[in-house]
């Protein structure tokens, strides 16, 4: 087993201070957060954290449990890259003169699916979204033509197998939680347990 990229998705209440509470889960274990995004989710009033780390699965599993234990956290999931669809947004500022002069730049931008967001006399801002390798590649090809500024957002990800949080939230709102709410991992390992 080796370290790999995991995306942790955390559904939470939208409360002040929760970011710190979640962040300390990582810093306490000396784990570097590669990317962190907070946003609203599909369920009203529920916030969604998307956190990317490089770790062993065992570590991530325990971490997800510790996060889920926090009072204001409803649920924490973790997934490998092939279990999610993910995107990062990048912005590039380049000199407008360069683009106008050099036809090659225009072609490069088109090939990389870049869209112009702002066009001014002195500079133009392009955006792309995609995986890290794709946004990195455009940085590389633009470099010789004078990339003035570059920034990339945190990852946002959708879990392929997820049915969203609407139904889950209803269960959480029940005072007496239903059977479905139990996510005892041993459920998947019934055969192993019972044949031992």
């Amino acid at each position: 087993m080796q370290k790999q990229e995991f995306t942790i998705t955390v559904y939470t209440e939208n409360h002040i201070g929760l970011l710190v509470r979640i962040a300390t889960m990582f810093s306490r274990r000396k784990i570097n957060i590669e990317s962190l995004n907070t946003s609203p989710s599909e369920a009203e009033g529920i916030h969604r954290f998307t956190i990317v780390i490089n770790e062993f699965e065992e570590v991530v599993r325990k971490l997800a449990r510790q996060i889920e234990k926090q009072v204001e956290v409803l649920k924490a999931y973790y997934n490998t890259n092939d279990e999610i669809v993910w995107q990062e947004l990048a912005l590039y500022k380049v000199s407008t003169d360069e683009i106008a002069e050099k036809v090659k730049v225009e072609r490069l931008l088109r090939e990389n699916g870049a869209r112009a967001v702002v066009i001014r006399k002195d500079y133009t801002i392009f955006e792309t979204s995609g995986h890290r390798e794709e946004t990195d590649k455009l940085v590389e090809v633009l470099a010789p033509y004078g990339l003035i500024e570059f920034v990339r957002s945190a990852r946002v990800a959708i879990i392929k197998a997820s049915h969203g949080f609407h139904e889950k939230l209803k269960e959480f709102e029940e005072t007496e939680p239903g059977e479905d709410q139990v996510e005892n991992e041993f459920l998947d390992k019934q055969n192993e347990v019972f044949t031992m």
Binding site: T12, E13, I16, G17, V20, R21, T24, R28, R61, K62, R65, Q66, E68, K69, V71, E72, V73, L74, L169, F172, E173, T175, P177, E179, Q181, V182, N184, F186, L187, Q190, V193, F194, M196
Partner: protein
Amino acid sequence: MMETLAVEQEPIVTKTQTLSGSQAVLEAFVAEGVDTIFGYPGGAIMPIYDALYDYHDKLKHILVRHEQGGIHAGQGYARTSGKCGVLFATSGPGATNLVTGLADAMIDSTPLVCITGQVYAHLLGTDAFQEIDVINITTPVTKWNYQVTDATEIPAVLAKAFYIAKSGRPGPVLIDITKNAQLQQFDYEGYQPCTHIRSYRPKPIIRKEYVAAAAELINKAEKPFIIFGQGVILGKAEKEFKAFVEKTGIPAAWTILGLSALATDHPLNVGMLGMHGNYGPNVLTNDCDVLIAVGMRFDDRVTGRLDKYAKQAKIIHLDIDPSEIDKNVKATVGVWGDCKETLPMLTKLVESKVYPHWVNRFREYQLEEEKEVIHEELNPSTDILTMGEVIRNLNELTDGNAVIVTDVGQHQMVACRYAKFNQSKSNVTSGGLGTMGFALPAAIGAKFGAPERTVVAIIGDGGIQMTIQELGTVMQSEVNIKVLILNNEFLGMVRQWQQLFHDKRYSFVDIASPDYVAVAKAYKIEGQKVSQREYLRDALTTMLNHNGSYLLEVMVGKENNVFPMVPQGCSVSEIRLK
């Protein structure tokens, strides 16, 4: 400015009752059945103290000498009463002084509600006098914390605080209330206790399949072994646990916080686990075929080297906190749930059995430990007093009915190894955090939590000097506690390690003591010092019979070691008897 604005903007309607935020805090306490508050006033919490002035018939307030003392007292109170400890501290240093106690309560799962004062909301973030970001400082050491800046939030926030502190796996909660919110008048509509928070599930749902799977493993076992922790006490499941042990006939050993959940003289109680635990339980952990862990968290001091811990055994782990299962030791069957509910389910499914040969193996190891360690510790052949014989005498005099509060170090290990307990919630110690200075204030709280019981604080000469100022609290509150100092003129546990693992290079462990009896006297507490065996028994009797608090200092052997011992990095079965 802000609070007057808030008041002015309120619509003039038929008011149920107008209260200040401070009064709402105290109303919440009364509604939650709080009877004792430990605290220390200061600028930012003055409105609450002002309101408290009118509540003195409903709420007893114990003025401590330091906020750390206050929070340890709150912990002691919670541990002996089974209720929630409550305390007040002011902003800034008052709040930061709570941090050690919060960390201690967090790791030992002690329910606490701490109220800290905070500067006016409009001063937040301005580096105002005694302003500190207490929420962020305490985030890693609280189960939950929250800052109130508007009094209308107070009833609901306090209801949530008590609910979170006490439910599920208990823990400390800190509520920081800005001064304007304490002063603010608002329409009070009564107190509603909290029973549900949608993002918080204190108790996982019990799945019968896993209880059944656990029972099947137990029924097939030939050498099963139960290890239990504080979960049994916190779950108030002592009776259920005893019934389970007795029906299955399985020997049971305890973690330091599980101590007293099962009477120490119970025939199936085989002793203490871990680094300074008993010989049999440690060695046989690596020999049993089914290990049943009840309400414990496999701390490294219990498991020793993890990759050599009970590898041969199937592990059943009962815990209310799902994140504990598989955290340190991989469970074969994890039974999620409150052991108050899971144990009876399990008891129903297990066969009634006895394991005479297996239980006898624990006895054999016990005999060897008696011969090599225990006999000499409890009945020394030299003139030098041992900690063990002090505890033996204390056992004989209290008959195992006292609450024993210990600090941290050698005396703690000796006291926990040898103290006799007949009833639960009798052992109060700082287990997870190992906080020196815990015992004296915790004993004060323990006595308020269990006023009818004898409370003996056993403390080393290091620990007592960390919170000795709480003798002032003892004096003023007139609490009746027995302070038993076991003085070996060293920071004994560190010295023991330096002797065993650092070539006897005694680096800064030689600690001088004041004249404790004189110090006590200055606080109007009677006491005496004993260094000879012939006076020990009488001195202990005097201490126990004294009407009021008493301090007894016993001079014990300087370089005695606590054995057995599982050296760090070794397997539990590599436990040394000398």
